[in-house]
Amino acid sequence: EPEVTQTPSHQVTQMGQEVILRCVPISNHLYFYWYRQILGQKVEFLVSFYNNEISEKSEIFDDQFSVERPDGSNFTLKIRSTKLEDSAMYFCASSDLRGSGEQYFGPGTRLTVT
């Protein structure tokens, strides 16, 4: 069964450093998403991406964040200058349909900012 993959599974970085979280969505999917889950809290939407542009973003997704689909398979989330409060599990998801399509989630990348 096709699945969404994410690398790395765990990333430790120092405050102020840039990080790039990588995702490989399911190959025929067209809609891509990033969510995050701070430890002990709920999963929060960050951004959705379609046709090489952001379709919606949350207030969390400020200028420090960016997303990119650099090639036909990868989907990345970049945090330019990490803060302690960016420590969280970051989930990538993809779907093949707008609105009614199921979002398939990856296993997540745990980001720890020290």
Binding site: Y33, V43, F45, S48, S58, G99, S100, P107
Partner: protein, 114 residues
């Protein structure tokens, strides 16, 4: 603001007993409704979803959920819980803006006792 409430943070159920996890949403129209399960170290797996039609929906692993418009609820049920059902369960709402931005509840952790 739109929100999803899962009033039970933890629930403990004996193996073989029935289960009901509560979910209420606050939204002006009928959204798309989802239940996801997250096992430790895993991503989010879709159990079931409601878009329209029959208000009782069947999902994977023997789960079902009932949409009650009058109560703005979408409770998850299982008639007989197995030890492998121990996990965190998230109710999520898509406000039907077109790009499936999911709003999650805070989750309910299910513990299964022998």
């Amino acid at each position: 603001a739109q929100s999803v409430t899962q009033p039970d943070i933890h629930i403990t159920v004996s193996e073989g007993a029935s289960l009901e996890l509560r979910c209420n949403y606050s939204y002006g129209a009928t959204p798309y409704l989802f239940w996801y399960v997250q096992s430790p170290g895993q991503g989010l797996q879709l159990l079931l979803k409601y878009f329209s039609g029959d208000t009782l929906v069947q999902g994977i692993k023997g789960f079902e959920a009932e949409f009650k418009r009058s109560q703005s609820s979408f409770n998850l049920r299982k008639p007989s819980v197995h030890w492998s059902d121990a996990a965190e369960y998230f109710c999520a709402v898509d406000m039907n803006t077109g790009f499936q931005k999911l709003v999650f509840g805070t989750g309910t952790r299910l513990l299964v006792s022998p």
